[in-house]
Symmetry: C2
Subunit: 142 residues, 2 copies
DNA sequence: CTGCCACTTCAAGTCGACTTGAGGTCAAGA
DNA sequence: TCTTGACCTCAAGTCGACTTGAAGTGGCAG
């Protein structure tokens, strides 16, 4: 299949496919003229890449994991990533509850709400931080 | 207090404080020579900024929210952010469970594990995505 | 009074994952 | 055969939140 077919079926832009090839994440089976030709199984590979990205792995990490035949992923790496996600989920849950509380709180100003101040303190003492791997998820502008 | 004191007490680098001032997130009360002088309450303000960042707001959004006297945050914005967090938590939970399953799965290769393939399909159909606001959390390099 | 050096400014660099733009190529349809 | 335009390459730009570097300044200890 040509790159446009892969793009159509995977939903991933051709420019990204070329980029992934350059990064060693996928390979084309040859060319017809200039045009890349891909094997069907590139789709599964792209799925794995999406999966890895969603899990918070960088492209380099994914490339390393998928280097040899098939997805030979170290189970330890998966566990460690799962643990990271646990921690992030924990922190995000605190944030979510805090936001929701602040939104419903009857205190005249947020600063007078004990719950808000508690979260604020958590943020200030670094127990919650804004830095880290963007284990981002769908971003709806709004 | 001088910028170095603020940096020390907040844990935020002086360069970041200057950057925040430039972005209109904080204000200095004046100068001693070239040196900025900050009011004590800048610390609380910095806490709010950290909090906002941890909640996934951009600096611009935070600046808008904190523009006038005190944190006059629209409750609707808080709720909406809480909803976003809910969605992210939901997706991250799926990812985490999937990773953990894959790590423990006895299938000879991940591709032969039904659970893994289910998640893979989710990633491919875009139900899980890697894009979005980095509602990142503490990043321990590892 | 002088020198130190923590502060200052402003421009430019960083990181990750792409996207975009300019200019070039070539398989296929008319 | 000629034209078309989807594909190609390579360099540079983008985004957000900072950091870094070079060059300048001035409060204060000595």
């Amino acid at each position: 299949m040509e790159i446009s077919d892969v793009a159509k079926q995977s939903g991933i832009p051709a420019s990204t496919l070329r980029y992934y090839e350059e990064r060693g994440l996928i390979r084309s089976m040859g060319r017809r003229g200039l045009r890349r030709l891909f094997d069907e199984d590139v789709l599964e590979r792209l799925g794995l890449i999406s999966l890895g990205r969603a899990a918070g792995f960088t492209l380099d990490e994914i490339a390393a994991m998928m280097s040899e035949e098939g997805p030979r992923i170290e189970r330890a790496a998966l566990m460690s990533k799962a643990d990271e996600l646990d921690e992030k989920i924990r922190q995000m849950t605190i944030m979510r509850d805090g936001l929701r509380h602040a939104a419903n709180c009857r205190a005249p100003s947020h600063m007078e709400c004990p719950s808000f101040r508690r979260i604020l303190r958590a943020a200030m003492t670094g127990r919650i931080s804004a830095k880290g791997n963007p284990v981002g998820l769908a971003n709806r502008k709004g």
